[in-house]
Symmetry: C2
């Protein structure tokens, strides 16, 4: 059975996975790049940017598991872009340029469906207004037996956790206090009972937690 | 200059340092003992209970720094006991029995002062209605040049952090999602800018974070 996975999902000490005030310039609002500095330094991130170099330690090893064996991604509408409500700008095709790093079908959960958008490199964005269970069913079918990644943001990850649909989750706890934004853990009391949890702190100061469903 | 220190302060993944519903039987409310299991296994905790044995690894090493060089403690009224409002039960002298583990003056912050209570073993509880700065001044004087520990609960630690009065803080992040209770981090946006932060995960699964004031 294909697994449902969350990867490289960074949260602050106070549990925020994104800051307040998302804009075109600041996808993570007032958090800026602070939740992902550990990631920017890895070889895998640099490779995704077409660059060489970067650190090849534990941060990199954990980060680069994100795409192995994944055949589809599910993301929330706010991960896709800063527009809210009915789509006004159909030219917007995500933050990632003409060749997004997914290279699979990507299901964008939204109450405002629109036609699918085919990008370079194998990424196709589908827009779908459905329950987590139904979106997952379609993503699984599109993944052709491979795993499905829940790409975020926090609202979508939380929905899939609440519905007990997540098999594997990698969270990176970053030692900053964001104070405001959107929390990952709300409404998930007792989550630890459903997972084996392993934690490791790396020299970057980040604590990586892997949740493996029991 | 004597330092102001916080030790063995456990918080859940979602930032709660105590659960909801404190009672005489459950000082940490619905959290029960879950925030402190790592501590219960240490040699230092067992010694405080008059027992032998226990683990002598990193959890123990970090835990046992709590009392070294400390000459007074400041705690909140809710750490002292479950009563709220005017004191109705003057017989209550804390959760710790006739010989509390502090062995120093202890300043209990409360809007309802009452006479000091002298316990066995050198602990005296003073009840004081004052600002963090004023309580600290009195505690420093009582500590005779030694350090002052902020004992909790979360409201008191937060007040002292907000007032930038804390020099050293040891927080243990426990991989559970409590969902409700009292949070440590609220109102402390940007806290990391005032501290050097070191994190280490131990085999108990807890991530110890030490904050050293810059």
């Amino acid at each position: 059975m294909s697994r449902v996975r969350v990867h490289n999902f960074s949260v602050s000490l106070d549990g925020f996975a994104t800051g307040e005030g998302q804009t075109l310039e600041e996808p993570f609002g007032h958090a800026g790049g602070r939740l992902h500095e550990w990631f920017f330094e890895t070889r895998i991130f640099r490779a995704m940017q077409g660059k060489t170099g970067g650190a090849a330690g534990a941060d990199d090893a954990l980060a680069r598991t994100w795409n192995e064996g994944v055949g589809a991604e599910i993301m929330g509408r706010n991960k896709f872009g800063p527009q809210r409500g009915p789509w006004e700008d159909h030219e917007w095709t995500g933050w990632w340029g003409p060749n997004p790093p997914f290279h699979t079908p990507v299901f964008v959960m939204t109450h405002h469906p629109r036609p699918s958008v085919e990008m370079e490199g194998g990424t196709t964005f589908h827009f779908i207004d459905a329950t987590p269970e139904e979106v997952l069913r379609q993503a699984r079918e599109a993944a052709g037996g491979l795993d499905v990644r829940i790409g975020g943001g926090p609202g979508v990850v939380r929905q899939f956790l609440a519905a007990d649909l997540v098999d594997h989750m990698h969270v990176a706890v970053v030692p900053i206090v964001l104070g405001r934004g959107e929390r990952l853990w709300d409404g998930l009391e007792g989550l630890e009972q459903r997972f084996d949890i392993e934690s490791v702190t790396t020299p970057s100061g980040v604590t990586h937690m892997t949740f493996t469903r029991r």
